[in-house]
Point group: C6
Protein backbone atom coordinates (compact mmCIF):
# COMPACT_ATOMS: atom_id res chain seq x y z
CA UNK A 1 0.00 0.00 0.00
CA UNK A 2 1.24 3.49 -0.80
CA UNK A 3 2.64 5.65 1.97
CA UNK A 4 -0.39 7.09 3.76
CA UNK A 5 0.92 7.57 7.31
CA UNK A 6 4.14 9.57 7.33
CA UNK A 7 3.71 10.81 10.90
CA UNK A 8 1.40 10.95 13.91
CA UNK A 9 2.25 14.60 14.53
CA UNK A 10 -0.32 17.18 13.56
CA UNK A 11 -0.45 20.95 13.96
CA UNK A 12 -3.80 21.10 15.72
CA UNK A 13 -6.13 18.88 17.78
CA UNK A 14 -8.67 18.94 14.98
CA UNK A 15 -6.15 17.68 12.43
CA UNK A 16 -5.30 15.01 14.97
CA UNK A 17 -8.93 14.04 15.19
CA UNK A 18 -9.15 13.84 11.42
CA UNK A 19 -6.04 11.66 11.36
CA UNK A 20 -7.79 9.37 13.85
CA UNK A 21 -10.67 9.07 11.38
CA UNK A 22 -8.22 8.10 8.65
CA UNK A 23 -6.64 5.50 10.93
CA UNK A 24 -10.06 4.02 11.69
CA UNK A 25 -11.01 3.83 8.02
CA UNK A 26 -7.69 2.28 7.04
CA UNK A 27 -8.43 -0.59 9.41
CA UNK A 28 -11.46 -1.33 7.28
CA UNK A 29 -9.66 -0.78 3.99
CA UNK A 30 -6.87 -3.24 4.81
CA UNK A 31 -9.51 -5.91 5.51
CA UNK A 32 -11.96 -5.14 2.72
CA UNK A 33 -9.69 -4.00 -0.08
CA UNK A 34 -12.40 -3.29 -2.64
CA UNK A 35 -13.46 0.40 -2.66
CA UNK A 36 -16.68 -0.66 -4.39
CA UNK A 37 -17.69 -3.05 -1.64
CA UNK A 38 -16.82 -0.46 1.01
CA UNK A 39 -18.99 2.09 -0.79
CA UNK A 40 -21.91 -0.35 -0.83
CA UNK A 41 -21.52 -1.05 2.89
CA UNK A 42 -21.45 2.66 3.66
CA UNK A 43 -25.17 3.06 3.00
CA UNK A 44 -26.15 0.52 5.61
CA UNK A 45 -23.89 1.56 8.48
CA UNK A 46 -24.30 5.30 7.88
CA UNK A 47 -28.00 4.88 8.55
CA UNK A 48 -27.73 2.68 11.62
CA UNK A 49 -27.23 4.36 14.98
CA UNK A 50 -25.28 1.53 16.58
CA UNK A 51 -23.02 1.16 13.57
CA UNK A 52 -22.25 4.86 13.75
CA UNK A 53 -21.51 4.61 17.45
CA UNK A 54 -19.17 1.69 16.81
CA UNK A 55 -17.37 3.71 14.15
CA UNK A 56 -17.11 6.66 16.54
CA UNK A 57 -15.62 4.30 19.13
CA UNK A 58 -12.78 3.25 16.87
CA UNK A 59 -12.03 6.90 16.13
CA UNK A 60 -11.92 7.52 19.89
CA UNK A 61 -9.30 4.81 20.40
CA UNK A 62 -7.11 6.18 17.64
CA UNK A 63 -7.57 9.73 18.89
CA UNK A 64 -6.07 8.61 22.22
CA UNK A 65 -2.99 7.48 20.34
CA UNK A 66 -2.70 10.59 18.19
CA UNK A 67 -3.29 12.90 21.15
CA UNK A 68 -0.58 11.17 23.17
CA UNK A 69 1.78 11.35 20.19
CA UNK A 70 1.27 15.11 20.15
CA UNK A 71 1.53 15.51 23.90
CA UNK A 72 -2.07 16.68 23.76
CA UNK A 73 -1.10 19.80 21.79
CA UNK A 74 -0.25 21.53 25.05
Amino acid sequence: MANWLPSLQTDTPQEGYELAITLARKGVAYTQTSPDVREQLRDSYANNADSLTMASHVIAVHFQTVAAANNYWK
Copy 2:
Protein backbone atom coordinates in the same frame (compact mmCIF):
# COMPACT_ATOMS: atom_id res chain seq x y z
CA MET B 1 -15.26 21.23 8.42
CA ALA B 2 -15.16 24.45 10.44
CA ASN B 3 -12.81 24.70 13.37
CA TRP B 4 -14.57 22.93 16.25
CA LEU B 5 -11.66 21.67 18.34
CA PRO B 6 -9.25 24.46 19.18
CA SER B 7 -7.86 22.74 22.28
CA LEU B 8 -8.21 19.77 24.64
CA GLN B 9 -7.66 22.00 27.68
CA THR B 10 -10.68 22.87 29.78
CA ASP B 11 -11.09 24.81 32.99
CA THR B 12 -12.98 22.11 34.91
CA PRO B 13 -13.52 18.33 34.85
CA GLN B 14 -17.13 18.86 33.90
CA GLU B 15 -16.22 20.98 30.88
CA GLY B 16 -13.79 18.20 30.02
CA TYR B 17 -16.57 15.67 30.22
CA GLU B 18 -18.72 17.80 27.96
CA LEU B 19 -15.87 18.10 25.48
CA ALA B 20 -15.69 14.29 25.50
CA ILE B 21 -19.36 14.22 24.53
CA THR B 22 -18.64 16.58 21.64
CA LEU B 23 -15.75 14.38 20.53
CA ALA B 24 -18.00 11.31 20.57
CA ARG B 25 -20.72 13.02 18.57
CA LYS B 26 -18.26 14.36 16.02
CA GLY B 27 -17.20 10.79 15.28
CA VAL B 28 -20.77 10.16 14.18
CA ALA B 29 -21.10 13.46 12.32
CA TYR B 30 -18.01 12.87 10.20
CA THR B 31 -19.44 9.51 9.10
CA GLN B 32 -23.09 10.50 8.68
CA THR B 33 -22.85 14.06 7.47
CA SER B 34 -26.59 14.74 7.21
CA PRO B 35 -27.98 16.42 10.35
CA ASP B 36 -31.45 15.26 9.30
CA VAL B 37 -30.50 11.61 9.21
CA ARG B 38 -28.69 11.92 12.54
CA GLU B 39 -31.81 13.50 14.04
CA GLN B 40 -33.95 10.62 12.77
CA LEU B 41 -31.55 8.05 14.24
CA ARG B 42 -31.58 9.82 17.60
CA ASP B 43 -35.11 8.63 18.39
CA SER B 44 -34.19 4.98 18.10
CA TYR B 45 -30.91 4.94 20.03
CA ALA B 46 -32.08 7.34 22.73
CA ASN B 47 -34.76 4.82 23.63
CA ASN B 48 -32.61 1.72 23.58
CA ALA B 49 -30.62 0.87 26.69
CA ASP B 50 -27.75 -0.86 24.93
CA SER B 51 -27.42 1.94 22.39
CA LEU B 52 -27.18 4.43 25.24
CA THR B 53 -24.56 2.32 26.98
CA MET B 54 -22.55 2.15 23.75
CA ALA B 55 -22.75 5.93 23.42
CA SER B 56 -21.65 6.33 27.04
CA HIS B 57 -18.71 4.03 26.31
CA VAL B 58 -17.40 6.25 23.54
CA ILE B 59 -17.67 9.26 25.83
CA ALA B 60 -15.65 7.34 28.42
CA VAL B 61 -12.83 6.70 25.97
CA HIS B 62 -12.66 10.34 24.97
CA PHE B 63 -12.86 11.45 28.59
CA GLN B 64 -9.68 9.44 29.26
CA THR B 65 -7.96 11.49 26.57
CA VAL B 66 -9.30 14.84 27.75
CA ALA B 67 -8.53 14.07 31.38
CA ALA B 68 -4.96 13.13 30.54
CA ALA B 69 -4.61 16.28 28.43
CA ASN B 70 -5.56 18.30 31.50
CA ASN B 71 -3.39 16.31 33.87
CA TYR B 72 -6.63 15.30 35.57
CA TRP B 73 -7.30 18.88 36.69
CA LYS B 74 -5.10 18.28 39.72
Copy 3:
Protein backbone atom coordinates in the same frame (compact mmCIF):
# COMPACT_ATOMS: atom_id res chain seq x y z
CA MET C 1 -26.46 21.04 33.52
CA ALA C 2 -25.74 21.75 37.18
CA ASN C 3 -22.24 21.24 38.50
CA TRP C 4 -21.94 17.50 39.15
CA LEU C 5 -18.21 16.89 38.67
CA PRO C 6 -16.14 19.23 40.78
CA SER C 7 -13.10 16.95 40.84
CA LEU C 8 -11.72 13.53 39.93
CA GLN C 9 -9.94 13.24 43.29
CA THR C 10 -11.45 10.92 45.88
CA ASP C 11 -10.36 9.86 49.32
CA THR C 12 -10.55 6.11 48.73
CA PRO C 13 -10.50 3.62 45.83
CA GLN C 14 -14.10 2.73 46.55
CA GLU C 15 -15.24 6.34 46.28
CA GLY C 16 -13.29 6.44 43.04
CA TYR C 17 -15.17 3.42 41.80
CA GLU C 18 -18.45 5.03 42.71
CA LEU C 19 -17.42 8.18 40.87
CA ALA C 20 -16.74 5.97 37.84
CA ILE C 21 -20.32 4.71 38.09
CA THR C 22 -21.57 8.30 38.14
CA LEU C 23 -19.46 9.13 35.09
CA ALA C 24 -20.89 6.13 33.22
CA ARG C 25 -24.46 7.06 34.07
CA LYS C 26 -23.96 10.69 33.10
CA GLY C 27 -22.98 9.53 29.61
CA VAL C 28 -26.45 8.06 29.33
CA ALA C 29 -28.17 11.04 30.94
CA TYR C 30 -26.64 13.57 28.56
CA THR C 31 -27.96 11.53 25.62
CA GLN C 32 -31.36 10.56 27.01
CA THR C 33 -32.30 13.57 29.09
CA SER C 34 -35.65 12.26 30.33
CA PRO C 35 -35.37 10.61 33.78
CA ASP C 36 -38.67 8.83 33.06
CA VAL C 37 -37.42 7.18 29.92
CA ARG C 38 -34.18 6.18 31.64
CA GLU C 39 -36.20 4.62 34.46
CA GLN C 40 -38.26 2.64 31.96
CA LEU C 41 -35.13 1.38 30.21
CA ARG C 42 -33.61 0.32 33.52
CA ASP C 43 -35.96 -2.65 33.84
CA SER C 44 -34.85 -4.18 30.59
CA TYR C 45 -31.07 -3.78 30.88
CA ALA C 46 -30.94 -4.63 34.59
CA ASN C 47 -32.34 -8.03 33.72
CA ASN C 48 -30.15 -8.79 30.74
CA ALA C 49 -26.73 -10.27 31.38
CA ASP C 50 -25.02 -8.74 28.35
CA SER C 51 -26.48 -5.31 29.04
CA LEU C 52 -25.11 -5.49 32.56
CA THR C 53 -21.70 -6.53 31.27
CA MET C 54 -21.73 -3.62 28.84
CA ALA C 55 -22.59 -1.24 31.68
CA SER C 56 -19.80 -2.72 33.80
CA HIS C 57 -17.41 -2.17 30.89
CA VAL C 58 -18.11 1.56 30.77
CA ILE C 59 -17.54 1.79 34.50
CA ALA C 60 -14.20 0.01 33.99
CA VAL C 61 -13.06 2.57 31.44
CA HIS C 62 -13.97 5.47 33.72
CA PHE C 63 -12.34 3.76 36.69
CA GLN C 64 -9.07 3.73 34.75
CA THR C 65 -9.34 7.49 34.43
CA VAL C 66 -10.29 8.10 38.05
CA ALA C 67 -7.60 5.73 39.34
CA ALA C 68 -4.93 7.48 37.27
CA ALA C 69 -6.20 10.87 38.50
CA ASN C 70 -5.63 9.68 42.06
CA ASN C 71 -2.28 8.09 41.32
CA TYR C 72 -3.95 4.79 42.23
CA TRP C 73 -4.41 5.89 45.85
CA LYS C 74 -0.86 4.75 46.61
Copy 4:
Protein backbone atom coordinates in the same frame (compact mmCIF):
# COMPACT_ATOMS: atom_id res chain seq x y z
CA MET D 1 -22.39 -0.41 50.23
CA ALA D 2 -19.92 -1.93 52.70
CA ASN D 3 -16.23 -1.30 52.21
CA TRP D 4 -15.13 -3.79 49.56
CA LEU D 5 -12.21 -1.99 47.94
CA PRO D 6 -9.65 -0.87 50.51
CA SER D 7 -6.77 -0.76 48.05
CA LEU D 8 -5.63 -1.54 44.51
CA GLN D 9 -2.33 -2.93 45.76
CA THR D 10 -1.89 -6.70 45.77
CA ASP D 11 1.01 -8.96 46.63
CA THR D 12 1.06 -10.91 43.38
CA PRO D 13 -0.10 -10.56 39.75
CA GLN D 14 -2.60 -13.35 40.27
CA GLU D 15 -4.19 -11.58 43.24
CA GLY D 16 -4.30 -8.52 41.03
CA TYR D 17 -6.11 -10.49 38.37
CA GLU D 18 -8.59 -11.74 40.92
CA LEU D 19 -9.15 -8.18 42.13
CA ALA D 20 -9.89 -7.26 38.50
CA ILE D 21 -12.57 -9.95 38.48
CA THR D 22 -14.09 -8.46 41.63
CA LEU D 23 -14.07 -5.00 40.07
CA ALA D 24 -15.83 -6.34 36.96
CA ARG D 25 -18.49 -8.11 39.02
CA LYS D 26 -19.10 -5.07 41.21
CA GLY D 27 -19.99 -3.10 38.10
CA VAL D 28 -22.82 -5.52 37.59
CA ALA D 29 -23.80 -5.61 41.25
CA TYR D 30 -24.15 -1.84 41.54
CA THR D 31 -26.55 -1.87 38.57
CA GLN D 32 -28.50 -5.03 39.38
CA THR D 33 -28.59 -5.02 43.16
CA SER D 34 -30.54 -8.24 43.62
CA PRO D 35 -28.24 -11.25 44.19
CA ASP D 36 -31.13 -13.53 43.17
CA VAL D 37 -31.53 -11.90 39.77
CA ARG D 38 -27.77 -11.97 39.22
CA GLU D 39 -27.72 -15.68 40.04
CA GLN D 40 -30.51 -16.32 37.54
CA LEU D 41 -28.66 -14.41 34.83
CA ARG D 42 -25.49 -16.36 35.50
CA ASP D 43 -26.86 -19.52 33.89
CA SER D 44 -27.45 -17.84 30.57
CA TYR D 45 -24.22 -15.90 30.18
CA ALA D 46 -22.01 -18.66 31.58
CA ASN D 47 -23.16 -20.87 28.73
CA ASN D 48 -22.83 -18.34 25.95
CA ALA D 49 -19.43 -17.92 24.34
CA ASP D 50 -19.83 -14.26 23.42
CA SER D 51 -21.16 -13.37 26.87
CA LEU D 52 -18.11 -14.99 28.41
CA THR D 53 -15.81 -13.10 26.06
CA MET D 54 -17.53 -9.85 26.99
CA ALA D 55 -17.06 -10.64 30.68
CA SER D 56 -13.41 -11.45 30.06
CA HIS D 57 -13.04 -8.11 28.29
CA VAL D 58 -14.20 -6.15 31.33
CA ILE D 59 -11.75 -8.06 33.49
CA ALA D 60 -9.00 -7.15 31.03
CA VAL D 61 -9.76 -3.45 31.34
CA HIS D 62 -9.70 -3.58 35.12
CA PHE D 63 -6.53 -5.67 35.08
CA GLN D 64 -4.82 -2.82 33.20
CA THR D 65 -5.74 -0.52 36.05
CA VAL D 66 -4.69 -2.90 38.80
CA ALA D 67 -1.43 -3.78 37.05
CA ALA D 68 -0.55 -0.10 36.64
CA ALA D 69 -1.42 0.52 40.30
CA ASN D 70 1.11 -2.14 41.25
CA ASN D 71 3.74 -0.96 38.80
CA TYR D 72 3.28 -4.34 37.10
CA TRP D 73 4.69 -6.18 40.13
CA LYS D 74 8.20 -5.55 38.85
Copy 5:
Protein backbone atom coordinates in the same frame (compact mmCIF):
# COMPACT_ATOMS: atom_id res chain seq x y z
CA MET E 1 -7.11 -21.68 41.83
CA ALA E 2 -3.53 -22.90 41.45
CA ASN E 3 -0.80 -20.38 40.82
CA TRP E 4 -0.96 -19.66 37.10
CA LEU E 5 0.38 -16.07 36.92
CA PRO E 6 3.73 -15.77 38.65
CA SER E 7 4.82 -12.70 36.67
CA LEU E 8 3.98 -10.38 33.78
CA GLN E 9 7.59 -10.36 32.62
CA THR E 10 8.48 -12.39 29.56
CA ASP E 11 11.68 -12.83 27.58
CA THR E 12 10.24 -11.93 24.20
CA PRO E 13 7.29 -10.02 22.68
CA GLN E 14 5.88 -13.26 21.35
CA GLU E 15 5.90 -14.87 24.80
CA GLY E 16 4.19 -11.71 26.00
CA TYR E 17 1.54 -12.11 23.35
CA GLU E 18 1.00 -15.71 24.37
CA LEU E 19 0.68 -14.61 28.00
CA ALA E 20 -2.00 -12.16 26.86
CA ILE E 21 -3.87 -15.10 25.32
CA THR E 22 -3.66 -16.94 28.64
CA LEU E 23 -4.96 -13.88 30.48
CA ALA E 24 -7.89 -13.62 28.08
CA ARG E 25 -8.78 -17.29 28.48
CA LYS E 26 -8.54 -17.15 32.25
CA GLY E 27 -11.20 -14.47 32.25
CA VAL E 28 -13.51 -17.02 30.71
CA ALA E 29 -12.37 -19.87 32.94
CA TYR E 30 -13.02 -17.96 36.16
CA THR E 31 -16.60 -17.31 35.00
CA GLN E 32 -17.37 -20.69 33.42
CA THR E 33 -15.41 -23.09 35.61
CA SER E 34 -16.36 -26.29 33.76
CA PRO E 35 -13.73 -27.30 31.18
CA ASP E 36 -16.37 -29.46 29.48
CA VAL E 37 -18.74 -26.56 28.93
CA ARG E 38 -15.88 -24.38 27.68
CA GLU E 39 -14.90 -27.10 25.22
CA GLN E 40 -18.47 -27.30 23.93
CA LEU E 41 -18.62 -23.53 23.47
CA ARG E 42 -15.34 -23.53 21.58
CA ASP E 43 -16.92 -25.10 18.49
CA SER E 44 -19.42 -22.30 18.08
CA TYR E 45 -17.19 -19.27 18.62
CA ALA E 46 -14.22 -20.72 16.73
CA ASN E 47 -16.41 -20.81 13.64
CA ASN E 48 -17.95 -17.39 13.97
CA ALA E 49 -16.04 -14.42 12.61
CA ASP E 50 -17.37 -11.87 15.07
CA SER E 51 -16.75 -14.14 18.04
CA LEU E 52 -13.17 -14.56 16.91
CA THR E 53 -12.76 -10.82 16.54
CA MET E 54 -14.15 -10.32 20.04
CA ALA E 55 -11.67 -12.85 21.40
CA SER E 56 -8.85 -11.13 19.56
CA HIS E 57 -9.95 -7.83 21.11
CA VAL E 58 -9.57 -9.15 24.65
CA ILE E 59 -6.11 -10.43 23.79
CA ALA E 60 -5.26 -6.96 22.48
CA VAL E 61 -6.24 -5.33 25.77
CA HIS E 62 -4.14 -7.75 27.79
CA PHE E 63 -1.23 -7.38 25.39
CA GLN E 64 -1.21 -3.65 26.17
CA THR E 65 -0.77 -4.53 29.82
CA VAL E 66 1.91 -7.15 29.26
CA ALA E 67 3.81 -4.95 26.81
CA ALA E 68 3.82 -2.05 29.29
CA ALA E 69 4.96 -4.41 32.05
CA ASN E 70 7.94 -5.33 29.89
CA ASN E 71 8.66 -1.77 28.82
CA TYR E 72 7.85 -2.96 25.30
CA TRP E 73 10.90 -5.26 25.26
CA LYS E 74 13.05 -2.34 24.20
Copy 6:
Protein backbone atom coordinates in the same frame (compact mmCIF):
# COMPACT_ATOMS: atom_id res chain seq x y z
CA MET F 1 4.10 -21.49 16.66
CA ALA F 2 7.07 -20.19 14.69
CA ASN F 3 8.66 -16.90 15.69
CA TRP F 4 6.43 -14.21 14.20
CA LEU F 5 6.96 -11.31 16.60
CA PRO F 6 10.63 -10.53 17.07
CA SER F 7 10.05 -6.91 18.11
CA LEU F 8 7.50 -4.13 18.48
CA GLN F 9 9.89 -1.58 17.00
CA THR F 10 9.27 -0.44 13.45
CA ASP F 11 10.94 2.14 11.25
CA THR F 12 7.82 4.08 10.37
CA PRO F 13 4.28 4.71 11.70
CA GLN F 14 2.84 2.88 8.70
CA GLU F 15 4.91 -0.23 9.39
CA GLY F 16 3.70 0.06 12.97
CA TYR F 17 0.13 0.14 11.76
CA GLU F 18 0.72 -2.91 9.63
CA LEU F 19 2.24 -4.70 12.62
CA ALA F 20 -0.95 -3.85 14.53
CA ILE F 21 -2.92 -5.58 11.78
CA THR F 22 -0.72 -8.65 12.15
CA LEU F 23 -1.23 -8.63 15.92
CA ALA F 24 -5.01 -8.43 15.44
CA ARG F 25 -5.03 -11.32 12.98
CA LYS F 26 -2.83 -13.48 15.17
CA GLY F 27 -5.43 -13.22 17.91
CA VAL F 28 -7.83 -14.93 15.55
CA ALA F 29 -5.29 -17.45 14.31
CA TYR F 30 -4.38 -18.65 17.78
CA THR F 31 -8.08 -19.33 18.46
CA GLN F 32 -9.09 -20.75 15.08
CA THR F 33 -5.96 -22.58 13.99
CA SER F 34 -7.30 -23.80 10.63
CA PRO F 35 -6.35 -21.47 7.75
CA ASP F 36 -9.15 -23.02 5.71
CA VAL F 37 -11.81 -22.13 8.23
CA ARG F 38 -10.41 -18.60 8.59
CA GLU F 39 -10.53 -18.22 4.80
CA GLN F 40 -14.17 -19.31 4.74
CA LEU F 41 -15.06 -16.83 7.50
CA ARG F 42 -13.32 -14.02 5.64
CA ASP F 43 -16.07 -13.80 3.04
CA SER F 44 -18.76 -13.12 5.59
CA TYR F 45 -17.03 -10.53 7.77
CA ALA F 46 -15.36 -8.71 4.87
CA ASN F 47 -18.82 -7.94 3.54
CA ASN F 48 -20.41 -6.86 6.79
CA ALA F 49 -19.95 -3.27 7.93
CA ASP F 50 -20.09 -3.97 11.66
CA SER F 51 -17.69 -6.88 11.38
CA LEU F 52 -15.24 -4.64 9.59
CA THR F 53 -15.61 -1.96 12.24
CA MET F 54 -14.96 -4.54 14.94
CA ALA F 55 -11.83 -5.68 13.13
CA SER F 56 -10.71 -2.07 12.78
CA HIS F 57 -11.25 -1.62 16.54
CA VAL F 58 -8.86 -4.45 17.42
CA ILE F 59 -6.25 -2.95 15.11
CA ALA F 60 -6.71 0.38 16.91
CA VAL F 61 -6.01 -1.20 20.30
CA HIS F 62 -2.84 -2.86 19.04
CA PHE F 63 -1.75 0.32 17.29
CA GLN F 64 -1.83 2.07 20.68
CA THR F 65 0.61 -0.52 21.96
CA VAL F 66 2.92 -0.40 18.95
CA ALA F 67 2.88 3.40 18.86
CA ALA F 68 3.82 3.58 22.54
CA ALA F 69 6.56 1.02 21.99
CA ASN F 70 8.03 3.30 19.35
CA ASN F 71 7.57 6.47 21.37
CA TYR F 72 5.18 7.56 18.63
CA TRP F 73 8.00 7.72 16.07
CA LYS F 74 8.81 11.21 17.28
